[in-house]
Protein backbone atom coordinates (compact mmCIF):
# COMPACT_ATOMS: atom_id res chain seq x y z
CA UNK A 1 0.00 0.00 0.00
CA UNK A 2 1.58 3.27 -1.00
CA UNK A 3 1.47 6.46 1.00
CA UNK A 4 -1.29 7.90 -1.07
CA UNK A 5 -3.46 4.86 -0.46
CA UNK A 6 -2.80 5.05 3.30
CA UNK A 7 -3.59 8.70 3.32
CA UNK A 8 -6.79 8.06 1.35
CA UNK A 9 -7.92 5.39 3.85
CA UNK A 10 -7.12 7.59 6.84
CA UNK A 11 -8.99 10.44 5.24
CA UNK A 12 -12.05 8.34 4.53
CA UNK A 13 -11.95 6.89 8.01
CA UNK A 14 -11.68 10.32 9.54
CA UNK A 15 -14.45 11.65 7.39
CA UNK A 16 -16.72 8.75 8.34
CA UNK A 17 -15.92 9.20 12.03
CA UNK A 18 -16.63 12.91 11.79
CA UNK A 19 -19.86 12.29 9.97
CA UNK A 20 -20.80 9.64 12.52
CA UNK A 21 -19.97 11.95 15.41
CA UNK A 22 -21.96 14.71 13.74
CA UNK A 23 -24.95 12.41 13.42
CA UNK A 24 -25.02 11.34 17.07
CA UNK A 25 -26.57 14.51 18.49
CA UNK A 26 -28.87 14.64 15.46
CA UNK A 27 -30.02 11.10 16.20
CA UNK A 28 -30.38 12.02 19.83
CA UNK A 29 -32.46 15.02 18.80
CA UNK A 30 -34.64 12.77 16.68
CA UNK A 31 -35.01 10.49 19.65
CA UNK A 32 -35.90 13.43 21.92
CA UNK A 33 -38.31 14.91 19.44
CA UNK A 34 -39.94 11.57 18.92
CA UNK A 35 -42.44 12.49 21.62
CA UNK A 36 -43.22 9.29 23.42
CA UNK A 37 -43.75 5.62 22.85
CA UNK A 38 -47.36 4.66 22.12
CA UNK A 39 -47.66 2.97 25.50
CA UNK A 40 -46.33 6.02 27.32
CA UNK A 41 -48.92 8.31 28.89
CA UNK A 42 -49.74 11.65 27.26
CA UNK A 43 -47.93 14.44 29.06
CA UNK A 44 -47.55 18.18 29.01
CA UNK A 45 -43.96 17.74 27.86
CA UNK A 46 -45.44 18.05 24.38
CA UNK A 47 -47.69 20.71 22.97
CA UNK A 48 -48.73 19.65 19.52
CA UNK A 49 -49.58 22.27 16.97
CA UNK A 50 -49.52 23.42 13.39
CA UNK A 51 -47.82 26.29 11.63
CA UNK A 52 -49.52 27.31 8.41
CA UNK A 53 -47.62 29.34 5.86
CA UNK A 54 -50.36 31.20 4.01
CA UNK A 55 -47.90 32.46 1.40
CA UNK A 56 -47.58 28.87 0.16
CA UNK A 57 -51.26 27.97 0.48
CA UNK A 58 -52.83 28.10 -2.99
CA UNK A 59 -56.24 29.64 -3.52
CA UNK A 60 -58.75 27.03 -4.60
CA UNK A 61 -56.58 24.10 -3.51
CA UNK A 62 -58.46 21.83 -1.10
CA UNK A 63 -56.07 18.90 -0.83
CA UNK A 64 -55.90 19.24 2.96
CA UNK A 65 -59.70 19.20 3.22
CA UNK A 66 -60.01 16.11 1.04
CA UNK A 67 -57.28 14.32 2.99
CA UNK A 68 -58.99 15.14 6.30
CA UNK A 69 -62.34 13.87 5.05
CA UNK A 70 -60.77 10.63 3.82
CA UNK A 71 -58.73 10.15 6.98
CA UNK A 72 -61.76 10.52 9.27
CA UNK A 73 -64.57 9.11 7.15
CA UNK A 74 -66.38 12.42 6.59
CA UNK A 75 -68.71 12.65 3.61
CA UNK A 76 -67.09 15.78 2.21
CA UNK A 77 -70.51 17.30 1.60
CA UNK A 78 -70.72 21.02 2.29
CA UNK A 79 -74.38 21.67 3.06
CA UNK A 80 -75.29 23.77 6.11
CA UNK A 81 -75.88 20.63 8.20
CA UNK A 82 -72.79 18.70 7.05
CA UNK A 83 -69.75 18.31 9.26
CA UNK A 84 -66.57 20.09 8.18
CA UNK A 85 -63.50 19.67 10.36
CA UNK A 86 -61.30 21.80 8.16
CA UNK A 87 -62.23 24.31 5.47
CA UNK A 88 -60.35 26.63 3.19
CA UNK A 89 -61.10 30.29 3.90
CA UNK A 90 -60.47 32.83 1.15
CA UNK A 91 -59.71 36.31 2.45
CA UNK A 92 -59.82 39.60 0.58
CA UNK A 93 -58.72 42.74 2.37
CA UNK A 94 -61.51 45.31 2.30
CA UNK A 95 -59.19 48.25 1.57
CA UNK A 96 -56.14 46.93 -0.24
CA UNK A 97 -57.76 43.97 -2.01
CA UNK A 98 -54.91 41.73 -0.85
CA UNK A 99 -55.89 38.09 -1.03
CA UNK A 100 -55.00 35.17 1.17
CA UNK A 101 -56.05 31.55 1.27
CA UNK A 102 -55.73 29.42 4.36
CA UNK A 103 -57.16 26.38 6.08
CA UNK A 104 -59.07 26.83 9.34
CA UNK A 105 -59.72 24.01 11.76
CA UNK A 106 -59.88 23.57 15.53
CA UNK A 107 -57.11 25.83 16.82
CA UNK A 108 -56.41 23.60 19.84
CA UNK A 109 -56.38 26.52 22.27
CA UNK A 110 -54.52 26.40 25.53
CA UNK A 111 -57.59 28.08 27.08
CA UNK A 112 -60.36 26.54 25.00
CA UNK A 113 -63.79 28.22 25.39
CA UNK A 114 -65.45 24.96 24.29
CA UNK A 115 -63.96 23.18 27.30
CA UNK A 116 -64.99 26.01 29.61
CA UNK A 117 -68.65 25.84 28.63
CA UNK A 118 -69.15 22.07 28.26
CA UNK A 119 -71.61 20.96 30.96
CA UNK A 120 -70.37 17.36 31.12
CA UNK A 121 -66.65 17.67 30.49
CA UNK A 122 -67.08 15.92 27.13
CA UNK A 123 -65.04 18.74 25.59
CA UNK A 124 -61.61 18.34 27.07
CA UNK A 125 -57.99 19.19 26.47
CA UNK A 126 -55.35 16.51 26.70
CA UNK A 127 -52.13 17.14 28.55
CA UNK A 128 -50.37 17.49 25.19
CA UNK A 129 -52.70 20.34 24.16
CA UNK A 130 -55.04 18.45 21.83
CA UNK A 131 -58.68 19.51 22.28
CA UNK A 132 -61.12 16.62 21.80
CA UNK A 133 -64.74 15.60 22.35
CA UNK A 134 -65.49 12.50 24.40
CA UNK A 135 -68.32 11.01 22.36
CA UNK A 136 -69.41 8.86 25.28
CA UNK A 137 -70.55 11.80 27.40
CA UNK A 138 -71.34 14.49 24.82
CA UNK A 139 -75.06 15.25 25.17
CA UNK A 140 -75.28 17.32 22.00
CA UNK A 141 -76.16 20.62 23.70
CA UNK A 142 -74.03 22.55 21.15
CA UNK A 143 -72.91 25.07 23.77
CA UNK A 144 -69.32 24.49 22.60
CA UNK A 145 -70.36 25.42 19.07
CA UNK A 146 -71.78 28.68 20.41
CA UNK A 147 -68.57 29.36 22.31
CA UNK A 148 -65.95 28.49 19.70
CA UNK A 149 -64.49 31.65 18.14
CA UNK A 150 -63.35 29.68 15.09
CA UNK A 151 -66.57 27.92 14.13
CA UNK A 152 -64.50 24.79 14.24
CA UNK A 153 -67.16 22.40 15.45
CA UNK A 154 -69.96 20.48 13.77
CA UNK A 155 -72.94 18.54 15.08
CA UNK A 156 -73.59 15.19 13.43
CA UNK A 157 -77.12 15.86 12.19
CA UNK A 158 -78.05 12.45 10.83
CA UNK A 159 -77.28 8.76 10.85
CA UNK A 160 -73.78 7.94 9.69
CA UNK A 161 -74.86 4.68 8.05
CA UNK A 162 -71.69 2.86 9.04
CA UNK A 163 -69.38 5.25 7.24
CA UNK A 164 -67.28 5.42 10.39
CA UNK A 165 -63.70 4.29 10.55
CA UNK A 166 -62.36 2.15 13.38
CA UNK A 167 -59.86 4.76 14.53
CA UNK A 168 -62.36 7.63 14.49
CA UNK A 169 -65.71 6.76 16.07
CA UNK A 170 -68.40 9.40 15.52
CA UNK A 171 -72.02 9.62 16.57
CA UNK A 172 -75.33 11.15 15.52
CA UNK A 173 -76.30 13.91 17.92
CA UNK A 174 -72.73 14.49 19.13
CA UNK A 175 -70.43 17.38 18.39
CA UNK A 176 -67.06 16.82 16.73
CA UNK A 177 -64.10 18.68 15.30
CA UNK A 178 -60.49 18.34 14.19
CA UNK A 179 -58.62 15.92 16.46
CA UNK A 180 -55.19 16.96 15.18
CA UNK A 181 -55.08 13.37 13.92
CA UNK A 182 -54.68 12.19 17.47
CA UNK A 183 -54.75 8.57 16.30
CA UNK A 184 -51.61 9.20 14.27
CA UNK A 185 -49.87 10.98 17.13
CA UNK A 186 -50.73 8.20 19.54
CA UNK A 187 -49.34 5.68 17.06
CA UNK A 188 -46.09 7.66 17.01
CA UNK A 189 -46.54 8.93 13.45
CA UNK A 190 -46.29 12.58 14.46
CA UNK A 191 -48.02 14.15 11.53
CA UNK A 192 -51.53 14.99 10.40
CA UNK A 193 -53.43 14.04 7.26
CA UNK A 194 -53.68 17.70 6.19
CA UNK A 195 -49.95 18.32 6.65
CA UNK A 196 -49.09 15.16 4.73
CA UNK A 197 -51.43 16.04 1.89
CA UNK A 198 -50.45 19.65 1.31
CA UNK A 199 -48.64 19.77 -2.05
CA UNK A 200 -46.88 23.01 -1.04
CA UNK A 201 -45.85 21.87 2.44
CA UNK A 202 -47.71 24.88 3.76
CA UNK A 203 -48.81 23.01 6.89
CA UNK A 204 -46.10 22.12 9.37
CA UNK A 205 -46.91 19.81 12.27
CA UNK A 206 -44.78 19.68 15.36
CA UNK A 207 -44.19 20.06 19.06
CA UNK A 208 -44.32 23.69 20.18
CA UNK A 209 -42.63 22.73 23.44
CA UNK A 210 -39.60 21.24 21.76
CA UNK A 211 -37.18 24.10 21.11
CA UNK A 212 -35.30 21.95 18.62
CA UNK A 213 -38.36 21.15 16.49
CA UNK A 214 -38.76 22.81 13.12
CA UNK A 215 -42.08 24.34 14.13
CA UNK A 216 -40.64 25.89 17.29
CA UNK A 217 -37.63 27.21 15.40
CA UNK A 218 -39.75 28.71 12.65
CA UNK A 219 -42.01 30.31 15.25
CA UNK A 220 -38.91 31.71 16.94
CA UNK A 221 -37.56 33.09 13.67
CA UNK A 222 -40.53 34.44 11.77
CA UNK A 223 -43.54 36.54 12.77
CA UNK A 224 -46.64 34.45 13.17
CA UNK A 225 -50.22 35.10 14.15
CA UNK A 226 -53.01 33.49 16.08
CA UNK A 227 -56.56 33.98 14.80
CA UNK A 228 -58.41 36.18 17.29
CA UNK A 229 -55.24 36.68 19.31
CA UNK A 230 -57.19 39.38 21.17
CA UNK A 231 -59.05 36.63 23.02
CA UNK A 232 -55.82 35.44 24.63
CA UNK A 233 -56.54 31.74 24.05
CA UNK A 234 -52.96 30.83 23.06
CA UNK A 235 -53.83 28.64 20.10
CA UNK A 236 -51.84 25.62 19.04
CA UNK A 237 -52.39 26.50 15.39
CA UNK A 238 -50.44 29.50 14.11
CA UNK A 239 -50.29 31.31 10.78
CA UNK A 240 -47.61 33.21 8.91
CA UNK A 241 -48.18 35.52 5.97
CA UNK A 242 -51.39 37.21 7.12
Amino acid sequence: MNNFEQYRRRFLGGALATAGAAMVPGLMLVEMAHSRAPEEAVSSKNRWGLLIDTTKCASGCTECVTACNTEHGLSGKTGPQDAQWIRKVELTHKKSGAQHSLPVMCQHCEEPPCVDVCPTGASFKRADGIVLVDRHICIGCRYCMMACPYKARSLVHEDLNDTQLAHMPRGKGCVESCTLCVHKIDAGENTTACAQACPEQAILFGDLNDAGSEIAQRLATYASKEIRADLGLNTGVRYTGI
Binding site: P80, K95, T120, G121, L155, D159
Partner: protein, 401 residues
Protein backbone atom coordinates in the same frame (compact mmCIF):
# COMPACT_ATOMS: atom_id res chain seq x y z
CA UNK B 1 -112.72 39.44 55.18
CA UNK B 2 -110.73 36.26 55.28
CA UNK B 3 -109.15 34.93 52.15
CA UNK B 4 -110.03 31.35 51.43
CA UNK B 5 -108.16 29.41 48.81
CA UNK B 6 -110.04 26.58 47.23
CA UNK B 7 -109.55 24.09 44.43
CA UNK B 8 -111.53 24.83 41.32
CA UNK B 9 -114.30 22.39 40.60
CA UNK B 10 -112.88 21.43 37.25
CA UNK B 11 -115.76 19.27 36.13
CA UNK B 12 -117.07 21.36 33.31
CA UNK B 13 -116.78 20.34 29.69
CA UNK B 14 -114.69 23.45 29.18
CA UNK B 15 -112.15 22.35 31.80
CA UNK B 16 -111.73 18.92 30.29
CA UNK B 17 -111.58 20.38 26.80
CA UNK B 18 -108.81 22.72 27.94
CA UNK B 19 -106.87 19.95 29.64
CA UNK B 20 -107.47 17.63 26.69
CA UNK B 21 -106.33 20.29 24.22
CA UNK B 22 -103.15 20.91 26.18
CA UNK B 23 -102.61 17.16 26.43
CA UNK B 24 -102.88 16.89 22.65
CA UNK B 25 -100.31 19.67 22.22
CA UNK B 26 -97.99 17.88 24.64
CA UNK B 27 -98.32 14.67 22.60
CA UNK B 28 -97.55 16.61 19.43
CA UNK B 29 -94.44 18.03 21.14
CA UNK B 30 -93.33 14.59 22.25
CA UNK B 31 -93.90 13.25 18.74
CA UNK B 32 -91.61 15.98 17.42
CA UNK B 33 -88.99 15.13 20.05
CA UNK B 34 -89.17 11.45 19.10
CA UNK B 35 -88.64 12.29 15.44
CA UNK B 36 -85.75 14.61 16.21
CA UNK B 37 -84.11 11.84 18.20
CA UNK B 38 -84.83 9.17 15.64
CA UNK B 39 -83.76 11.03 12.52
CA UNK B 40 -81.35 13.47 14.13
CA UNK B 41 -81.37 17.24 13.88
CA UNK B 42 -81.32 16.89 10.10
CA UNK B 43 -85.12 17.24 10.13
CA UNK B 44 -84.91 20.60 11.86
CA UNK B 45 -83.94 23.92 10.34
CA UNK B 46 -80.95 24.10 12.66
CA UNK B 47 -77.50 23.57 11.20
CA UNK B 48 -73.82 24.04 11.99
CA UNK B 49 -74.22 27.83 11.73
CA UNK B 50 -77.49 28.34 13.62
CA UNK B 51 -76.94 25.73 16.29
CA UNK B 52 -79.66 26.94 18.66
CA UNK B 53 -82.96 27.60 16.95
CA UNK B 54 -86.63 27.90 17.75
CA UNK B 55 -86.63 25.33 20.58
CA UNK B 56 -84.14 27.53 22.45
CA UNK B 57 -86.29 30.58 21.78
CA UNK B 58 -89.20 28.85 23.54
CA UNK B 59 -87.06 27.23 26.21
CA UNK B 60 -85.16 30.36 27.25
CA UNK B 61 -88.39 32.38 27.14
CA UNK B 62 -90.11 29.90 29.46
CA UNK B 63 -87.15 29.66 31.84
CA UNK B 64 -86.81 33.44 32.01
CA UNK B 65 -90.57 33.87 32.44
CA UNK B 66 -90.52 31.24 35.21
CA UNK B 67 -88.31 33.33 37.43
CA UNK B 68 -90.37 36.42 36.62
CA UNK B 69 -93.64 34.66 37.39
CA UNK B 70 -92.41 34.32 40.96
CA UNK B 71 -92.27 38.09 41.22
CA UNK B 72 -95.84 38.47 42.46
CA UNK B 73 -95.17 36.03 45.29
CA UNK B 74 -91.91 37.78 46.17
CA UNK B 75 -93.70 41.12 46.49
CA UNK B 76 -95.85 39.48 49.16
CA UNK B 77 -93.30 37.24 50.87
CA UNK B 78 -90.17 39.38 50.70
CA UNK B 79 -91.45 42.94 50.45
CA UNK B 80 -94.40 42.32 52.75
CA UNK B 81 -97.15 43.77 50.57
CA UNK B 82 -100.24 42.11 51.96
CA UNK B 83 -102.41 42.77 48.93
CA UNK B 84 -100.28 40.38 46.91
CA UNK B 85 -100.52 37.54 49.41
CA UNK B 86 -103.62 35.92 47.91
CA UNK B 87 -101.94 36.06 44.51
CA UNK B 88 -98.78 34.35 45.70
CA UNK B 89 -99.63 30.63 45.43
CA UNK B 90 -100.48 30.92 41.72
CA UNK B 91 -97.27 32.89 41.26
CA UNK B 92 -95.13 30.11 42.75
CA UNK B 93 -97.05 27.42 40.88
CA UNK B 94 -96.56 29.24 37.57
CA UNK B 95 -92.86 29.60 38.28
CA UNK B 96 -92.49 25.85 38.78
CA UNK B 97 -94.64 25.00 35.76
CA UNK B 98 -92.94 27.40 33.36
CA UNK B 99 -89.50 26.17 34.40
CA UNK B 100 -90.60 22.56 33.89
CA UNK B 101 -91.96 23.39 30.43
CA UNK B 102 -88.83 25.28 29.44
CA UNK B 103 -86.50 22.57 30.68
CA UNK B 104 -88.51 19.91 28.84
CA UNK B 105 -87.92 21.75 25.57
CA UNK B 106 -84.25 22.30 26.38
CA UNK B 107 -83.68 18.65 27.24
CA UNK B 108 -85.64 17.23 24.31
CA UNK B 109 -83.73 19.42 21.88
CA UNK B 110 -80.39 17.89 22.90
CA UNK B 111 -78.55 15.93 20.25
CA UNK B 112 -78.48 13.08 22.76
CA UNK B 113 -81.48 13.71 25.01
CA UNK B 114 -81.10 10.17 26.34
CA UNK B 115 -77.87 11.26 27.98
CA UNK B 116 -79.19 14.41 29.67
CA UNK B 117 -78.81 12.76 33.08
CA UNK B 118 -75.03 12.75 32.60
CA UNK B 119 -75.10 16.42 33.60
CA UNK B 120 -76.05 15.27 37.09
CA UNK B 121 -72.68 13.68 37.83
CA UNK B 122 -70.25 14.99 35.20
CA UNK B 123 -69.95 18.50 36.59
CA UNK B 124 -67.80 21.18 34.99
CA UNK B 125 -67.35 24.09 37.40
CA UNK B 126 -66.58 26.56 34.59
CA UNK B 127 -69.71 25.79 32.58
CA UNK B 128 -72.77 28.01 33.04
CA UNK B 129 -74.87 25.04 31.86
CA UNK B 130 -73.39 22.99 34.66
CA UNK B 131 -74.27 25.72 37.16
CA UNK B 132 -77.75 25.76 35.74
CA UNK B 133 -78.30 22.13 36.66
CA UNK B 134 -77.85 23.25 40.27
CA UNK B 135 -79.74 26.53 39.77
CA UNK B 136 -82.79 24.88 38.17
CA UNK B 137 -82.96 22.17 40.83
CA UNK B 138 -82.57 24.76 43.58
CA UNK B 139 -85.28 26.93 42.08
CA UNK B 140 -87.67 23.97 41.99
CA UNK B 141 -86.77 23.17 45.57
CA UNK B 142 -87.10 26.66 47.02
CA UNK B 143 -90.25 27.51 45.08
CA UNK B 144 -91.92 24.21 45.95
CA UNK B 145 -91.01 24.79 49.60
CA UNK B 146 -92.37 28.32 49.38
CA UNK B 147 -95.61 27.01 47.88
CA UNK B 148 -95.83 24.43 50.62
CA UNK B 149 -95.42 27.04 53.36
CA UNK B 150 -98.24 29.01 51.77
CA UNK B 151 -100.63 26.08 51.45
CA UNK B 152 -99.90 24.21 54.68
CA UNK B 153 -100.39 26.13 57.91
CA UNK B 154 -98.14 23.72 59.82
CA UNK B 155 -95.26 24.79 57.60
CA UNK B 156 -95.77 28.46 58.42
CA UNK B 157 -92.51 28.79 60.45
CA UNK B 158 -90.53 28.22 57.27
CA UNK B 159 -92.46 30.78 55.23
CA UNK B 160 -89.95 33.60 55.50
CA UNK B 161 -86.96 31.39 54.85
CA UNK B 162 -88.58 29.85 51.78
CA UNK B 163 -89.77 33.21 50.46
CA UNK B 164 -86.34 34.84 50.77
CA UNK B 165 -84.61 31.73 49.50
CA UNK B 166 -86.77 31.57 46.40
CA UNK B 167 -86.35 35.30 45.76
CA UNK B 168 -82.57 35.27 45.99
CA UNK B 169 -82.40 32.04 44.03
CA UNK B 170 -84.50 33.44 41.20
CA UNK B 171 -82.10 36.38 40.84
CA UNK B 172 -79.16 33.99 40.66
CA UNK B 173 -81.05 31.73 38.26
CA UNK B 174 -81.76 34.47 35.76
CA UNK B 175 -78.24 35.80 36.13
CA UNK B 176 -77.19 32.31 35.09
CA UNK B 177 -79.56 32.32 32.13
CA UNK B 178 -78.24 35.69 30.96
CA UNK B 179 -74.67 34.54 31.37
CA UNK B 180 -75.22 31.51 29.13
CA UNK B 181 -74.95 34.17 26.46
CA UNK B 182 -72.95 36.75 28.39
CA UNK B 183 -69.96 34.44 28.68
CA UNK B 184 -69.75 33.73 24.95
CA UNK B 185 -66.61 35.75 24.34
CA UNK B 186 -66.36 35.28 20.62
CA UNK B 187 -69.69 36.50 19.32
CA UNK B 188 -70.53 40.12 18.62
CA UNK B 189 -74.10 39.75 19.93
CA UNK B 190 -73.08 38.29 23.26
CA UNK B 191 -70.00 38.51 25.43
CA UNK B 192 -71.31 41.21 27.78
CA UNK B 193 -72.24 40.94 31.45
CA UNK B 194 -75.09 43.34 30.68
CA UNK B 195 -77.05 40.31 29.51
CA UNK B 196 -77.47 39.15 33.12
CA UNK B 197 -79.38 42.19 34.47
CA UNK B 198 -81.10 42.53 31.11
CA UNK B 199 -82.51 39.02 31.42
CA UNK B 200 -83.58 39.70 35.00
CA UNK B 201 -85.54 42.77 33.92
CA UNK B 202 -87.03 40.91 30.96
CA UNK B 203 -88.04 38.09 33.28
CA UNK B 204 -90.08 40.47 35.45
CA UNK B 205 -92.01 41.65 32.40
CA UNK B 206 -92.55 38.24 30.78
CA UNK B 207 -93.45 36.46 34.01
CA UNK B 208 -95.93 39.09 35.08
CA UNK B 209 -97.56 39.12 31.64
CA UNK B 210 -98.02 35.35 31.76
CA UNK B 211 -99.38 35.70 35.27
CA UNK B 212 -102.06 38.05 33.96
CA UNK B 213 -102.77 35.71 31.05
CA UNK B 214 -103.40 32.82 33.43
CA UNK B 215 -105.15 34.67 36.23
CA UNK B 216 -107.83 36.41 34.15
CA UNK B 217 -109.16 33.36 32.26
CA UNK B 218 -108.99 31.29 35.45
CA UNK B 219 -111.31 33.71 37.22
CA UNK B 220 -113.59 34.28 34.24
CA UNK B 221 -113.98 30.58 33.45
CA UNK B 222 -114.10 29.64 37.11
CA UNK B 223 -116.78 32.29 37.68
CA UNK B 224 -114.96 33.73 40.64
CA UNK B 225 -114.83 37.40 41.56
CA UNK B 226 -111.78 39.30 40.31
CA UNK B 227 -111.69 42.90 41.50
CA UNK B 228 -110.17 45.90 39.78
CA UNK B 229 -107.63 46.40 42.56
CA UNK B 230 -105.68 43.25 41.75
CA UNK B 231 -105.64 44.04 38.05
CA UNK B 232 -104.63 47.65 38.70
CA UNK B 233 -101.60 46.50 40.64
CA UNK B 234 -100.60 43.98 37.98
CA UNK B 235 -101.10 46.61 35.29
CA UNK B 236 -98.88 49.07 37.14
CA UNK B 237 -96.18 46.44 37.45
CA UNK B 238 -96.34 45.78 33.73
CA UNK B 239 -95.94 49.48 32.97
CA UNK B 240 -92.82 49.74 35.12
CA UNK B 241 -91.36 46.52 33.71
CA UNK B 242 -91.98 47.59 30.11
CA UNK B 243 -90.12 50.83 30.78
CA UNK B 244 -87.27 48.98 32.47
CA UNK B 245 -87.03 46.42 29.64
CA UNK B 246 -86.94 49.19 27.07
CA UNK B 247 -84.20 50.90 29.06
CA UNK B 248 -82.07 47.74 29.17
CA UNK B 249 -82.56 47.23 25.43
CA UNK B 250 -81.59 50.83 24.79
CA UNK B 251 -78.44 50.63 26.92
CA UNK B 252 -77.37 47.38 25.25
CA UNK B 253 -77.65 48.79 21.75
CA UNK B 254 -76.23 52.20 22.66
CA UNK B 255 -73.18 50.51 24.15
CA UNK B 256 -72.71 48.56 20.93
CA UNK B 257 -73.17 51.63 18.78
CA UNK B 258 -70.44 53.37 20.76
CA UNK B 259 -67.92 50.64 19.90
CA UNK B 260 -66.81 50.94 16.27
CA UNK B 261 -66.05 47.23 16.09
CA UNK B 262 -69.73 46.51 16.83
CA UNK B 263 -71.17 48.76 14.11
CA UNK B 264 -71.62 46.01 11.55
CA UNK B 265 -73.53 43.91 14.03
CA UNK B 266 -75.75 46.82 15.09
CA UNK B 267 -76.39 47.72 11.47
CA UNK B 268 -77.45 44.12 10.94
CA UNK B 269 -79.94 44.00 13.82
CA UNK B 270 -81.29 47.55 13.55
CA UNK B 271 -81.26 48.15 9.82
CA UNK B 272 -80.27 45.47 7.32
CA UNK B 273 -81.08 42.20 9.07
CA UNK B 274 -84.32 41.34 7.24
CA UNK B 275 -86.43 39.16 9.50
CA UNK B 276 -84.31 40.05 12.55
CA UNK B 277 -84.70 43.78 11.97
CA UNK B 278 -88.45 43.37 11.50
CA UNK B 279 -88.75 41.23 14.62
CA UNK B 280 -86.70 43.71 16.61
CA UNK B 281 -88.58 46.86 15.66
CA UNK B 282 -92.06 45.54 15.00
CA UNK B 283 -91.99 42.56 17.36
CA UNK B 284 -89.91 43.49 20.37
CA UNK B 285 -90.20 47.29 20.38
CA UNK B 286 -93.62 48.10 18.90
CA UNK B 287 -95.70 45.04 19.83
CA UNK B 288 -93.71 44.12 22.94
CA UNK B 289 -93.17 47.55 24.48
CA UNK B 290 -94.77 50.52 22.74
CA UNK B 291 -98.37 49.44 22.10
CA UNK B 292 -98.91 47.71 25.47
CA UNK B 293 -97.31 50.68 27.25
CA UNK B 294 -99.72 53.07 25.54
CA UNK B 295 -102.71 50.80 26.17
CA UNK B 296 -101.82 50.46 29.85
CA UNK B 297 -101.36 54.18 30.51
CA UNK B 298 -103.76 55.91 28.10
CA UNK B 299 -106.84 57.24 29.93
CA UNK B 300 -109.26 55.56 27.53
CA UNK B 301 -107.82 52.09 27.80
CA UNK B 302 -105.96 51.82 31.09
CA UNK B 303 -108.97 50.58 33.03
CA UNK B 304 -110.12 48.12 30.40
CA UNK B 305 -109.76 44.44 31.25
CA UNK B 306 -109.72 43.38 27.63
CA UNK B 307 -106.94 45.87 26.93
CA UNK B 308 -104.94 44.50 29.88
CA UNK B 309 -105.38 41.03 28.45
CA UNK B 310 -104.44 42.22 24.97
CA UNK B 311 -101.37 43.98 26.38
CA UNK B 312 -100.22 40.80 28.12
CA UNK B 313 -100.65 38.83 24.89
CA UNK B 314 -98.61 41.44 23.01
CA UNK B 315 -95.88 41.41 25.67
CA UNK B 316 -95.55 37.64 25.27
CA UNK B 317 -95.39 37.94 21.48
CA UNK B 318 -92.79 40.68 21.86
CA UNK B 319 -90.88 38.45 24.26
CA UNK B 320 -90.72 35.62 21.72
CA UNK B 321 -89.56 38.12 19.09
CA UNK B 322 -86.89 39.39 21.50
CA UNK B 323 -85.65 35.86 22.17
CA UNK B 324 -85.58 35.12 18.44
CA UNK B 325 -83.57 38.27 17.71
CA UNK B 326 -81.22 37.68 20.65
CA UNK B 327 -80.61 33.97 20.15
CA UNK B 328 -81.03 33.33 16.42
CA UNK B 329 -80.10 36.82 15.22
CA UNK B 330 -76.99 36.68 17.39
CA UNK B 331 -75.89 33.54 15.56
CA UNK B 332 -77.01 34.63 12.08
CA UNK B 333 -74.42 37.40 12.17
CA UNK B 334 -71.16 35.69 11.18
CA UNK B 335 -68.18 35.38 13.48
CA UNK B 336 -65.54 37.93 12.64
CA UNK B 337 -62.29 35.96 12.62
CA UNK B 338 -60.27 38.25 10.37
CA UNK B 339 -61.15 41.90 11.00
CA UNK B 340 -60.69 44.01 7.90
CA UNK B 341 -61.09 41.10 5.50
CA UNK B 342 -63.98 39.73 3.49
CA UNK B 343 -64.21 36.04 4.40
CA UNK B 344 -65.51 33.29 2.15
CA UNK B 345 -65.57 29.51 2.58
CA UNK B 346 -67.51 26.29 2.10
CA UNK B 347 -68.53 26.59 5.77
CA UNK B 348 -70.41 29.86 5.23
CA UNK B 349 -67.75 32.08 6.82
CA UNK B 350 -68.45 35.76 6.40
CA UNK B 351 -72.08 35.19 5.35
CA UNK B 352 -75.32 35.96 7.12
CA UNK B 353 -76.43 32.47 8.14
CA UNK B 354 -79.80 31.26 6.96
CA UNK B 355 -82.34 29.60 9.22
CA UNK B 356 -85.93 28.56 8.72
CA UNK B 357 -87.46 26.69 11.65
CA UNK B 358 -89.09 23.42 10.70
CA UNK B 359 -92.55 22.39 11.88
CA UNK B 360 -90.88 19.94 14.28
CA UNK B 361 -89.31 22.80 16.16
CA UNK B 362 -92.61 24.67 16.42
CA UNK B 363 -94.25 21.48 17.69
CA UNK B 364 -91.58 20.97 20.34
CA UNK B 365 -91.69 24.59 21.51
CA UNK B 366 -95.48 24.72 21.70
CA UNK B 367 -95.51 21.30 23.35
CA UNK B 368 -93.25 22.60 26.12
CA UNK B 369 -95.48 25.62 26.64
CA UNK B 370 -98.43 23.24 26.86
CA UNK B 371 -96.63 21.23 29.55
CA UNK B 372 -96.37 24.38 31.66
CA UNK B 373 -100.01 25.34 31.17
CA UNK B 374 -101.31 21.80 31.71
CA UNK B 375 -99.43 21.64 35.02
CA UNK B 376 -101.19 24.82 36.12
CA UNK B 377 -104.63 23.68 34.93
CA UNK B 378 -104.16 20.39 36.76
CA UNK B 379 -102.71 21.90 39.93
CA UNK B 380 -105.49 24.46 40.47
CA UNK B 381 -107.94 21.55 40.51
CA UNK B 382 -106.08 19.49 43.09
CA UNK B 383 -104.40 22.16 45.23
CA UNK B 384 -105.76 25.21 47.01
CA UNK B 385 -104.01 27.66 44.76
CA UNK B 386 -106.69 30.17 43.82
CA UNK B 387 -108.60 32.32 46.32
CA UNK B 388 -112.35 31.90 46.13
CA UNK B 389 -112.63 35.59 45.61
CA UNK B 390 -110.24 38.32 44.57
CA UNK B 391 -112.85 41.02 44.94
CA UNK B 392 -111.48 44.39 46.02
CA UNK B 393 -112.78 44.23 49.59
CA UNK B 394 -111.23 40.78 50.04
CA UNK B 395 -107.82 41.62 48.66
CA UNK B 396 -107.32 44.96 50.33
CA UNK B 397 -110.17 46.41 52.41
CA UNK B 398 -108.33 49.71 52.66
CA UNK B 399 -107.60 50.09 48.99
CA UNK B 400 -108.45 53.39 47.41
CA UNK B 401 -111.66 53.19 45.50
Amino acid sequence: MQIINREIEGNSAGYWALLGGLGALILIGLFAAYNMEHHGHVITGMNNQIVWGLPHVFAVFLVVAASGALNVASVAGVFGKKAYKPLAPLSALLAIALLAGGLAVLMLDLGRADRAIITAWEVNPTSVFSWNVVLYSGFFGFTAAYLWTMLDKTAKPFYGFAAYGAFIWRLILTTGTGLIFGFLVARQAFGTALLAPKFIVFSLLYGTAIYVLVLMPAYIWGQRALGDEVLRRLKNMLVVFIAASFYMTLVYHLTNVYFAKQWDFERFILQDGGIYTILFWLGQVVIGYLVPFILLVAPNTRNSRSMLMASAVMIVLGALAQMYVTIVGGQAFPLEMFPGFIEKSSFFDGEIHAYTPSHWEWMLGIGGTAIALAMVVFAVKVLRILPESLADDVVDPHAKK
